[in-house]
């Protein structure tokens, strides 16, 4: 066994040392790091590994390779607190973020930490929200679902792949709110471990509708197992052929899971602008467009000051609906 252990050890250390040759580029940051606030696999890990580590190196935006570190805990809270308390001046660090980050900040899941405690760099893709039903469902339009919410909420149970009060739940409630439903708690939402499992509840007919992200439903949609009632985007999305937006159906709700980065609050403006332009360059590259589409993400970009304002606005909205829902005080 010892021989095997040695082998494993040498294999593992080999990976750690596998640092491609360092180029002599000037002014580019070297020894950069992207922190994924969750384990391998999933949105934040993807954001670090593909647009950051893979493409920033490929497009020569950074010097050498970027290290990806996974730090899971408290739905991203552990990483957030780690950045604020111990890495506040680290100019070589960026952190993956998404709509879930904003949701949790709004709901005070990260304790007393606020949006001000970090610097919002930029977003480079959006997974728009969708509401889907089984192919055999009697519900044909968003109006049908809203009618069910009002007349027979017991037959209009919705499911999703994140916790009660989480972003998937909130997206569905934004629609209900736009429809004028006052008592949001009359709508039952049941969370499952992931979007895939939640969708089986809709396909089996146990639940009325699924609320989640576009990338989660594309497979089931192509297989003809589910129908999209509404996409929560401004414009129809080509990949979701023919699906109507909520806006087209008279419900002014736009919501999606954006993929973005933040940086520590204590870094210099130079370093901040460096990261903003790096994310901008990735977002504008054809390589990213191809990978983005492959992963079911729609086009969405927002950088620097604009993005900062965008995040704050979203936190405000989520905080408001969370209060109405009773998730937060």
């Amino acid at each position: 066994m010892t021989r095997k252990l040695l082998l494993l050890a040498s294999v593992l250390s080999g990976f750690m040392l596998a640092n491609p040759a360092i180029s002599m580029a000037q002014e580019k940051l070297s020894g950069t790091e992207c922190l994924a606030p969750a384990g391998a696999g999933g949105g934040w890990d993807f954001t670090c590994r593909v647009p950051a580590a893979q493409l920033m190196q490929k497009l020569n935006l950074i010097d050498g390779a970027m290290k990806v570190v996974n730090m899971s805990g408290s739905g991203g809270g552990k990483a957030f607190s780690h950045v604020v308390t111990t890495r506040n001046n680290d100019e070589k660090l960026i952190v993956a973020a998404s709509a879930a980050t904003a949701t949790r900040l709004a709901q005070k899941v990260y304790g007393d930490y606020k949006a001000d405690d970090v610097r919002w760099v930029g977003a480079l893709g959006m997974d728009y929200g969708v509401i889907v039903v089984s192919k055999d469902s009697p519900l044909k339009t968003l109006d049908d679902l809203v009618q069910k919410f009002k007349s027979d909420p017991r037959k209009a149970i919705i499911v999703g792949g994140s916790s009660v009060g989480g972003w998937d739940h909130i997206k569905a409630l934004l629609v209900a709110k736009a429809a004028g439903i006052k008592n949001l708690r009359s709508i039952t939402y049941i969370p499952f471990d992931n979007g895939g499992k939640a969708m089986l509840e809709v396909i089996s007919g146990r639940a009325a509708a699924f609320t989640g992200d576009a990338s989660e439903v594309i497979g089931q949609l192509k297989a003809g197992e589910v129908r999209i009632l509404a996409v929560l985007s401004d414009q129809p999305i080509p990949a979701l052929s023919g699906a109507k937006t909520a806006k087209e159906q008279g419900y002014d709700v736009v919501g999606g899971n954006w993929r973005a980065f933040y940086a520590p609050a204590g870094i210099s403006d130079d370093a901040y602008n460096y990261w903003v332009s790096a994310v901008k360059a990735v977002a504008g590259s054809p390589e990213w467009t191809a990978l983005r589409e492959k992963n079911g993400l729609a086009e969405f970009t927002s950088f620097g000051k604009d993005f900062d304002a965008f995040v704050r606005k979203q936190i405000e909205n989520v905080a408001e609906i969370s209060k109405e829902l009773g998730v937060t005080k």
Partner: protein, 500 residues
Amino acid sequence: MFDQLLHGFSIALSTQNIFLVFTGAFLGTVIGMLPGIGPINAIAILFPIVLQFELTPSSALIFFAGIFYGSQYGNSISSILLNVPGTSSAAVTCIDGHPLARQGRAGPALAMSAIASFSGGVLSIFLLILFAPYLSKLAIDFGPAEYFVLMVCAFTALTSFSHGSFIKALFSAILGLAIATIGIDELSFGGMRRFTFGVEELGDGIDFIVVVIGVFAIGELFLYLSELSSDTVQKIAPLNKVMMSFKELKESFAGILRSCITGFLVGVLPGAGATIASFLAYSTEKKMAGASGKFGKGDLRGVAAPESANNSSAVGSFIPLLVLGVPGSETTAVMLAALITLGVTPGPTMLTDQPDMFWGVAASMFIGNLVLIILNLPMVKLLAKILLIPRWVLMPLIAILSIVGVYVLNGSEFDLLLMLIFGVIGFIMRKTGFPLAPLILGLVLGGLIEVNFRRALTYSYGDFSTFFESPISIGLWIITLLSLVAPLFFKVLKKGRTQG
């Protein structure tokens, strides 16, 4: 179908894929042997390499699958030899595997584990190929109510601990259930923090692995230290024959078959898992054997059942992944996430989008299992010699591996502290004769039983009849009742026979 399988082999037999199967299976065995580092970590660690080499999704999955079932072979080795399971599903293998090793029968136990793993693995690949599309329907039909009843059924595995003190086993299981309630409650508004006592780190709950390693490995270490000072170190009998007798193999074979089917069916369900499969298979075999077995004291059939079941459950868990695009276990969830990053759209269309994947992976599993049995059987003799290493060398090594394994999990020092606390609990349990396996059963079932109970009652708006509605639920209730009544019935029958 035969054509498709041949096509699958043509994919699996490419030089690159053979290399991947071999490496995956080998790495998996090693990783499975090490406490703490499981297939989930291994896949996460190796994923960047897969990206680097730009593997196709099929090749990546062949590699990951190799790691997964390879680790199911490896995890029994440390269970048998050291009473230290690498994963929660291998905790069942300890029950009979380690007593066997202490009796000088480490060789037959290891060989049986390899043979049962191989048989369970290969048979379940046939089941995968033949029934995948039909069984995926089962995964859809299983709702929260059915899962709840299945968990209740799995709980009856507790009764197979009646030989010691049933009350003690029950207490262990309740402790496990209690630990499972710690953490943020995802089903309540605002995510209520339960039993976290203001400790931020407890919000995410306690990782299974931390408990398993703490209770088994660190507990064993404490026990060794305490025996060292009192000079009563338990003697391990000298090594006997390496192979089991043909008679013993024959005796186990029916059990391997039954366990394979149980494990496979449980594996297909995206909300159950290998630990439940192992416990169910073990308790079934124990009940079938009745008084004829030495279950709990070192019975080869007690090694064969969980090993066959956890391998076939690993294969079964590929059905929801490949046919529905829904991950059934944490391990397959990591695999799916990796596939998504490689550009695969999750869902039923994976079968048509990636035509090579299903058959390529299925064929590679045959090759992988063959590689594993060839690798594992000759190693039995060598591995059994680990027992000859003085314990004062072995125990510190286990301690180091445990600490590294637990730290790698989440990179959290707090987990190390928890591991020590559970080490103390494990030590006390050993000293006072509380069985450890029921603790793991309670821990694994706890979260699932509660969350499915609440989901089912949310669907039904509090109506309990929901648990008796579907034919699946009713069938599972009947099995539950039978497994409770059958042992009593057998006892009465035997008494009648000896008296008459």
